[in-house]
């Protein structure tokens, strides 16, 4: 049913439909509206769940870890510093192969403290063994949570999923969302049946010490699951389309006017809506431009990106995060998809924008297309304010 909803409320509604038995969270802007709404649903009896109000994000992640290990579907949400405080537990959850779903309301990292959107938080946890899927709008954010549980709890997968949605832009944005009906949710996402759990009827030990004779295989196993999951994502997407009538193709990337394009921007998340507008404008003027939107950042779709961009002469990667002292994170991986290959763009330039909530406007995107020339650029920050870069503490 189509409803006009705030992003956070839509997420709370879909989580309610997924019926997690344990929810735990600690408040951090811009995640708060999601968990406030869930708390209200539990308080009113709409949602039968244990809502555990904890004293930190470290404990929020630990509570859902314990709940999941006891065989129950669980949910948490966080952002920015909260995700960083969780980091230790985040890695732990993946290592323990627990199918936890978390929303990351993407936000910048301190210092300086900044509550606005970029993607530095989730990008920084890319090596943790969690799936990371990035929503462009609130319809996707809703749908991706359903897909996330389905993927995480797949017996062949048993890994956690982080659904990333841009803070404020999506979490606090009002949009029309086609909310999945409960009977369809039940059809697509059956009740969780754990493969293993803490149960006095059948005692097992979880979280054992693995010495050098055993540790490496645990990491190899996660890597293999991630690799194989590229196929599972396609199957799950197909089933999702059968039930809900929305087609996310392979769930890895979205190609928008890429086929005959001479210039393509690669990006993730809500900024892609803006890029599509610019692409439409430029296409109307006969310019061959396009967008390749990465949906799944983990696993990273190297082969799919290669196929999509191998004949595109010029590619610009627009990162909303940085790896200070190195090339920007998404740009590095896009470039690596072409290393040693026969085909590929002549130029893959890297742009960084939107940090700490600086608006990426249509003009910003036009500027990126303009700067995407014959000479490859790296470390190119868009929309910098030169007047703020003057030395104040020089000799």
């Amino acid at each position: 049913m189509k409803e006009f909803l705030e992003g956070s409320h839509a997420i709370a509604e879909i989580i309610k439909s997924c019926q997690p038995g344990v929810i735990s969270a600690y408040p951090i802007t811009p995640q708060t509206h999601i968990v406030e709404d869930l708390a209200q649903m539990v308080s009113s009896g709409e949602l039968k769940s244990q809502f555990v109000n904890v004293e930190s994000e470290h404990s929020a992640a630990s509570v859902v870890l314990g709940g999941s290990a006891t065989g129950v579907r669980v949910y948490t949400a966080t952002s920015s510093q909260g995700l960083f405080l969780m980091q230790e537990v985040v890695f732990n959850i993946a290592g323990m192969r627990l199918p936890i779903v978390m929303t990351c309301a993407n936000r910048a990292i301190s210092a300086p403290i900044n509550i606005w959107n970029d993607q530095q938080d989730s990008i920084s946890l890319r090596d943790s063994g969690w799936f990371q899927i990035y929503a462009e709008d609130n319809q996707e954010a809703v749908d991706f949570h359903l897909i996330a549980y389905r993927l995480a709890e797949d017996k062949r997968v048993m890994l956690p999923v982080m659904v990333c949605m841009d803070g404020f832009i999506l979490t606090h944005g009002m949009e029309t969302v086609d909310m999945p009906e409960q009977d369809k949710v039940n059809k697509f996402l059956p009740a969780y049946k754990p493969l293993y759990k803490l149960d006095t009827a059948d005692p097992i030990s979880m979280g054992l010490l693995a010495d050098p004779d055993y540790y490496m295989e645990t990491r190899f196993a996660i890597q293999e699951t991630m690799r194989e999951s590229i196929g599972y994502l396609f199957d799950i997407s197909k089933e999702f389309n059968n039930v809900f009538g929305r087609d996310y193709k392979d769930l890895l990337v979205e190609e928008y006017q890429v086929e005959d394009a001479e210039k393509v921007i690669v990006a993730m998340g809500s900024v892609c809506g803006t890029i599509k507008e610019v692409v439409d404008e430029q296409r109307a003027k006969g310019k061959k431009v396009g967008l390749l939107r990465i949906i799944s950042y983990r696993p990273f779709p190297y082969a799919r990106i290669y196929e999509a961009l191998k004949d595109v002469p010029k590619v610009a990667v627009l990162d909303k995060s940085v790896s200070l002292g190195a090339y920007a994170p998404v740009a590095v991986e896009v470039k690596s998809a072409f290393f040693g290959k026969k085909k590929g763009p002549k130029v893959i330039s890297s742009f960084v924008g939107g940090l700490g909530g600086r608006d990426i406007t249509m003009e910003t995107i036009h500027e990126v297309f303009r700067r995407l020339g014959a000479k490859e650029v790296n470390f190119d920050f868009v929309d910098l304010k030169p007047e703020l870069l003057k030395e104040e503490y020089g000799e």
């Binding site: 470290h58 709940g67 129950v72 537990v89 323990m96 693995a210």
Partner: protein
């Protein structure tokens, strides 16, 4: 207990480890219908080295500082599943994971009122990493990070009063116990398990390596700590002391001379006096002294 122990032999604890003895007493007292969340530390390492486990009950280890939060999630899930009334939940860890790095998570667990027993095995330093001082290391103890030197006679401060901190949460039950008094420990665990809500038991567990005593001296050392007043045994219910083990106090020197970690104090009457003051304060504060029968 003898036929199907819940904490089995074959684990890799050192000979004379007080924690191994206490951990077995705790789980045997709690019984088979128990789920344990264990912090990182000696107990975790020596009982669950893959592919083996010593545990006959469901057991989970996640991290160093989060066993109270993991246990909170286990308990919440059990409530959701309708199994809480028939299942006990224990969170446990050493003094470092309890009094230092995990203090906040435990405080949260207590404040939220989870029906969980938290057990701290207090061997008074970070033994798993090589005897570094913790917040529960006693005054004047020689550890690898509070070494004795020209300017120091060991750990600078007395033990952090963790049982009092947790009792101040107004929870139904807080107790101290000792591996040297097994029946008393068993009784306290059974009592704690019978009470609904958050409970805390702190068990004094000698560590032959870290305390530097012979491995066959675990029991006498543990008992002497209690008998000198340096490790008072007491029970709090809802923030009020309701019981204590009374003693005919022995001089602290009797305890200090049993262990290498206090060897540097033995020819230093001034420092021994300071340790005696710690015991005397405990004796007064908890009313430990058994009056001679008239």
């Amino acid at each position: 207990m003898e036929n199907n122990p819940l904490f089995k032999s074959g684990h890799t604890a050192c000979a004379g480890c007080g924690q191994a003895v206490a951990a077995r007493l705790v789980i045997e007292a709690a019984g088979a219908n128990t789920i344990i969340a264990n912090s990182t530390g000696c107990l975790e390492v020596f009982s669950t080295k893959y592919p083996e486990t010593a545990w006959g009950v469901p057991w989970i280890h996640s991290l160093f500082e989060n066993s109270a939060a993991v246990a909170s999630g286990v308990e919440a899930a059990l409530i959701y599943l309708g199994k809480k009334d028939t299942t006990n939940v224990i969170a446990q860890g050493g003094d470092g994971s309890t009094g230092d790095i995990g203090l906040q998570a435990i405080s949260g667990m207590l404040e939220r009122g989870h029906d969980i027993l938290y057990v701290c095995y207090d061997n008074e330093a970070y033994m798993n990493t090589g005897v570094q001082r913790s917040g529960l290391t006693p005054f004047d103890t020689n550890t690898t990070t509070s070494p004795v030197g020209a300017l120091s006679s060991g750990n600078l401060r007395p033990k952090k009063p963790v049982p009092e901190i947790f009792a101040a949460h107004g929870i139904p039950y807080v107790a101290t116990a000792s591996a040297g008094f097994p029946q008393d420990l068993t009784r306290k665990v059974k009592k704690a398990i019978s009470i609904k809500g958050p409970k805390y038991i702190q068990v004094h567990v000698p560590c032959p390596l870290g305390w530097r005593h012979e491995s066959n001296q675990m029991l006498p050392v543990a008992r002497m700590a209690v008998e000198t007043g340096l490790y008072p045994l007491f029970e709090y219910e809802f923030g009020v002391i309701t019981a204590r083990k009374q003693i005919m106090p022995k001089p602290v020197e009797e305890y200090l001379k049993m262990q290498g970690r206090f060897k540097h104090l033995l020819n230093n009457p001034g420092e021994i006096k300071k340790v005696q003051d710690v015991a005397d304060n405990n004796i007064k504060k908890y009313n430990l002294k058994l009056e001679a029968q008239g």
